[in-house]
């Protein structure tokens, strides 16, 4: 992809611009710190390119409006933060069940409840996974830089369209508000995956055979969209074997495209004694430690950063556990993803959590001190 000169922008701005680059033309939202800039940028930019911006009466309505617009054939996005993300959960579940593509941005802030609205945290990892009721599949990206935010938002929109599956962009206040350079591709050179215009004659909205594009309302396909369990044409069913098959199909969709969904990156020693597993803004502190410890001091350390946290990168963790003696999991919460790491490390390495939940970032010093302790 041809890249032009670097542009200085904020994480929230990169998210909005990435969405627009990926063809998002509809935004519905409700003001909430620290995500409001996404809405403000969309309100300014979308009308200029023939898109729709609407500020809804609440978070629930924003999520509903986004789903409605997606059924109308638009690429859609909404952004919020912790308390608003809680309110979006019911309709998020609807979008998963009815297989309506959309991207939901949650710029995490310190919780529970109103918490510290302007302080960063990574406390919504499990809410992003299990916030809506029932055994649903979900995709969650967790960028660690403004640059990653831009490209992961594009990936989120494309994947959401392809799989007809909502995707969560789990930012945090640090990434949302920091400014960094981003290389914006030249106009028209973007990786926007166009959905097929060819509708097969035997098209079914929920084809049991596999992925099928969403045909928007208004083109003579009189299917039904519902949050109830439904058959291949969308009509309600409560038949037990059918219900089980339908739920399996939702999960199989993500399993089949797992390699496109699960994105991770490893830097450092090939056979590290101490490895770090991090995501979001915590990657930044970890990376600076590993760069110095490995590239400068040649210590046996490494960093596995997770751009995708759900579906959980189980294979990557299993592989890392075979190499490392100790795996440190720094998180700005009381320990959420660490449980998942332990589950796949399965006793093959020592898993050490490093938690901070005072509204401040985990510093490189905190990480390097812990590494030093386990290396000696």
């Amino acid at each position: 992809m041809a890249e032009t000169k670097p542009v200085l922008m904020q994480g929230n701005e990169a998210c909005a611009m990435g969405a627009i680059s990926a063809g998002v033309r509809f935004y519905a939202g409700y003001p909430i710190t620290p995500s409001t800039e996404v809405a403000e940028i969309m309100a300014a930019k979308l009308p200029e390119i023939g898109g729709v911006f609407i500020q809804m009466e609440d978070e629930i309505a924003s999520m509903a409006a986004v789903i409605g617009a997606s059924i109308g054939g638009m690429r859609t996005l909404t952004a919020t933060s912790g308390p608003g993300f809680s309110l979006k959960q019911e309709n998020l579940g609807y979008a998963i069940m009815a297989e309506i593509p959309c991207v939901v941005v949650n710029v995490q802030r310190m919780g529970p409840s109103t918490g510290v609205p302007t302080a960063p945290a990574q406390g919504d990892v499990m809410q992003a996974r299990w916030g809506t009721h029932g055994d649903h599949p979900i995709i969650v990206f967790s960028p660690s830089s403004v640059y990653e935010t831009y490209y992961l938002t594009i990936a989120a929109v494309n994947l959401s369209q392809k799989l007809r599956q909502p995707v969560i962009m789990l930012l945090d206040e640090v990434i949302g508000h920091m400014r960094e350079k981003v290389f914006i591709p030249e106009a028209g050179k973007l990786l926007v995956e166009k959905s097929s215009d060819q509708i097969p004659s035997d098209w079914k909205p929920y084809d049991e055979k596999g992925l099928t594009p969403l045909v928007p309302f208004g083109f003579g396909h009189y299917y039904h969209v519902t949050g109830l369990f439904h058959d291949q044409y969308g009509f309600p069913t409560g038949d037990p074997p059918h219900v089980e098959r339908a739920l399996d199909r939702l999960h199989a969709k993500l399993e089949k495209y797992r390699d496109e969904i699960v994105l991770t990156n490893y830097i450092g020693h090939k056979e590290p004694r101490v490895a770090i597993v991090a995501y979001g803004c915590t990657v930044r502190s970890a990376r600076s430690v590993v760069k110095k410890a490995y590239w400068q001091d040649r210590l046996p350390v490494g960093l596995l950063s997770l751009q995708t946290i759900w579906p959980f990168p189980a294979r990557e963790i299993e592989a890392l556990a075979k190499q490392a003696d100790v795996i440190i999991v720094p998180e700005m919460n009381m320990g959420q993803l660490v449980g998942e790491v332990e589950r796949y490390v399965c006793g093959q390495a020592k898993v050490v959590p490093l938690n901070r939940y005072d509204g401040e970032m985990i510093t490189p010093d905190q990480i390097s001190e812990l590494i030093g302790r386990w290396l000696s």
């Binding site: 509809f26 519905a28 009308p47 200029e48 390119i49 023939g50 729709v52 609407i54 809804m56 009466e57 609440d58 629930i60 309505a61 924003s62 509903a64 409006a65 986004v66 789903i67 409605g68 617009a69 997606s70 059924i71 109308g72 054939g73 638009m74 859609t76 019911e90 309709n91 609807y94 928007p216 309302f217 208004g218 083109f219 003579g220 396909h221 009189y222 299917y223 039904h224 969209v225 519902t226 949050g227 109830l228 009509f235 309600p236």
Partner: protein
């Protein structure tokens, strides 16, 4: 008029509604209104919420969207903004629209977005077995108000008007021809239209309140309704206990989705 089979998903019938329910009458009036107005089937969308009447969407052969409880208007707002050329009918029950969906109802009215809300008011939560709603009249019994509800009911159309809706009408299942005409007029009106359709629920409401079966309830509905035109000539004492039906208000005002798309074209076209 013969009901057009093309607009019904006959294979999905029989419906789930109880004997004596008014939902079928209201749904038939809607289908006739759509046919009479001559809309292109492809461009008609039926959106509904959760509850007995919202199941109508599944029986109608259009683009149909059965949403979450109370949120039908919010889904419809997104769809209408994305595709302003489509004609949307939003079927809700009284609890769905005025309790859990109350916020979306007043804000849809405030925006004056071109949606046609059909509120099937049976004064009760039927699907869950008979709990009181914000449209249950004071004193009437429900499973959650065994001694009669102390709460006061909304006047749905006054609420809609106060919030900015530009068309409001009331009809009932006992007068289906009039209901059909009211829905047709609502659909033709550009802006947020509300048609309150009074409908009997003999099972979960009538039985508990000794209102008789479906026939008695329909009869009572017809007898207590007074056309707005006639009411203008009646004094207050005669109107005691009566329900106004017909078009209660119809106002010209800018419609939101067309204003928005005009703004885009003007500024950036």
């Amino acid at each position: 008029m013969q009901l057009t089979q093309d607009f019904l998903r006959t294979k999905k019938l029989p419906h789930i509604w109880c004997p004596g329910c008014g939902n079928g009458i209201v749904t038939a009036a809607l289908v006739r209104a759509i046919e009479r107005a001559g809309y292109d089937q492809r461009e008609v969308v039926i959106v509904s919420g959760i509850g007995c009447s919202s199941r109508a969407a599944g029986y109608l052969n259009f683009n149909t969207l059965h949403t979450t409880h109370g949120r039908a208007l919010a889904f419809a707002t997104g769809l209408k903004m994305a595709r302003p050329e489509l004609t949307l009918f939003v079927i809700m029950g009284d609890g769905d629209c005025s309790a859990i969906g109350g916020n979306h109802f007043i804000h849809s009215a405030r925006r004056n977005i071109d949606l046609n809300a059909i509120v099937v008011n049976n004064h009760i939560y039927g699907m869950t077995g008979g709990q009181h709603s914000p449209l249950t009249p004071t004193g009437m019994k429900a499973t959650t108000a065994p001694g009669g509800t102390l709460e006061r009911a909304f006047d749905l159309l006054e609420l809609a008007k106060g919030a900015g809706a530009t068309f409001g009408a009331r009809g009932n299942a006992a007068q289906p021809r009039q209901l059909e005409q009211l829905i047709t007029r609502a659909a033709k009106h550009k802006g947020f239209s509300v048609v309150e359709a009074l409908s009997p629920c003999p099972i979960a409401y009538g039985r508990r309140n000794k209102l008789g079966g479906a026939v008695e309830m329909l009869k009572g509905m017809k007898e207590s309704s007074v056309a707005v035109e006639r009411a203008a000539e009646m004094d207050e004492a005669d109107l005691e206990g009566k329900t106004l039906n017909g078009v209660l208000f119809s106002i010209d005002a800018p419609e939101f989705s067309s204003e928005y798309h005009r703004m885009i074209k003007k500024d950036h076209g």
